[in-house]
Amino acid sequence: MGGFESFLFSFFNLKVMATYLPLVAKGFGLTVVLALLIVACGLSLGLLLAVVRSFGLRVLNWGIIFVVDLFRALPPLVIIVLLFFGLPAAGITVSGFAATWLSLTLVLMAFAEEIYWAGITAVPKGQWEAARSTGLGFLQTLRLVVLPQALRITIPPLTNRTIAITKGTALGSVVGVAEILGASQSAMSFSANPSALTLGAIAYLILFIPVVALGRWVETRFAWKR
């Protein structure tokens, strides 16, 4: 077998790929579900924290800032490992899926809160004053005047951050989640051939290249024009 042939046999073995395609496809589905759950929960929790923070209650805000800093500073894998291997010591067992979902949700929540908050504070004070001078209340002003402007400028950084964090779903493989990486790793050990891993890599590209391109497009499209 020549070098190139052996390369093809190892990494692009169509027979192996065909055999394990269903397994990796299942992993693909799991990755998508996990990613959607993380995005939905992380972004809404982050927005909730940013709104609560805008009330300006000092002690509460210190708490929010600490939680946000904590989950920005900790590597996601450390949180996953802590939840999955640590919690059983307290008598709580969580599945690998739940540990991965919760960890990445908390991380996305923290980054999203920070971005939303920067967006809210970037809206000029005059907008608040104008709205309040017409009799709108605090929450009405926040919801109708400030947030629409804040969300718009947060779209590019938020999109990029969300993409980066959802890619962390691959970390689930460490705690036995059969998402794309987990599925293709077990396929690789069954078949003693890394073609399944190639298949996994292709699955990630199919999933994330459009998303990365979307992020790039969003960055130019939502440049704030006044």
């Binding site: 104008a130 709205a131 629409p148």
Partner: protein, 249 residues
């Protein structure tokens, strides 16, 4: 003129400090219904702060403010209900950039007065017509000139049918050729009998249209009176200096 028995604005003994700096030192101001009061003075005299206290965008440290019979500083007062009777126009317009001119005007009509969409839309159209922008209703602020934006801001305030209008340097951010349009709208409001308090450097407008001019310096009201007297024979040395300087321009 200012001897109407019950003034519509009655502010007494207003104090405002920013840190160690006292910006208002016990200022009184009363304004009669249908009166146009001009507040002038050098920058840092506290005139804008005084105006912003009149709808509690600035919280005075001491004193009392009554507007249309409502005790503005009382904790029992519903400040949002009170504010919709006090229109405010800002130096920097502060239009909502994500809404059209008409939506800018409609927002408080719908959310504060609880009017339905068709009715709010009609009122907004009338208000925009009144400031001469009937043909610009669906434009976004970014598509309007500064003068047009300021007229939308005036429409946004008058659509709520306020009892009083406050103007905080409404023409200072405008190019000279756009000032006239805004002043015309203010003149028409005055003719319709709107009570107005104006902080501005438009001395010619003050001379022609104001009922009373208040001169402030260093957080105090130094003198007040009809424009002819304040501009013609000011009593106070600071006033004389200020008016000399303004007239040179």
């Amino acid at each position: 003129m200012s001897t109407t028995p019950s003034p519509i604005i009655d502010a007494r003994g207003l104090w405002k400090r920013f840190g160690n700096l006292a910006v208002l030192k016990g200022v009184d101001l009363s304004v009669a219904e249908r009166e146009l009061v001009f507040i002038i003075g050098p920058s840092g005299s506290g005139k804008s702060t005084l105006l912003r206290c009149l709808n509690r965008l600035e919280e005075p440290d001491d004193g009392s403010i009554q507007v249309d019979g409502i005790e503005l500083l009382s904790p029992k007062t519903d400040i949002n209900a009170a504010r919709r009777r006090i229109g405010m126009v800002f130096q920097s317009f502060n239009l909502y950039p994500h809404m059209t001119a008409r939506q800018n005007v409609m927002l408080a009509l719908r959310k504060v007065l609880g009017k339905g969409k068709p009715e709010a839309g009609e009122i907004a159209a009338r208000a925009l017509d009144r400031v001469g922008l009937g043909d610009r209703m669906e434009h976004y602020p970014a598509q309007l000139s500064g003068g047009q934006q300021q007229r939308v801001a005036i429409a946004r305030a008058i659509a709520l049918e306020p009892r009083v209008m406050l103007f905080d340097e409404p023409t200072s951010a405008l190019d000279p050729e756009l000032v006239g349009g805004v002043l015309n709208v203010m003149r028409e409001l005055r003719q319709d009998g709107m009570t107005m308090v104006v902080v501005s450097h438009e001395m010619a407008f003050a001379r022609a249209a104001a009922d009373r001019v208040v001169f402030m310096a260093d957080g105090e009201k130094l003198e007040e009176g009809p424009p002819a007297r304040i501009f013609g024979e000011p009593q106070h040395e600071r006033t004389r200096a200020f008016i000399r300087q303004i007239d040179r321009h």
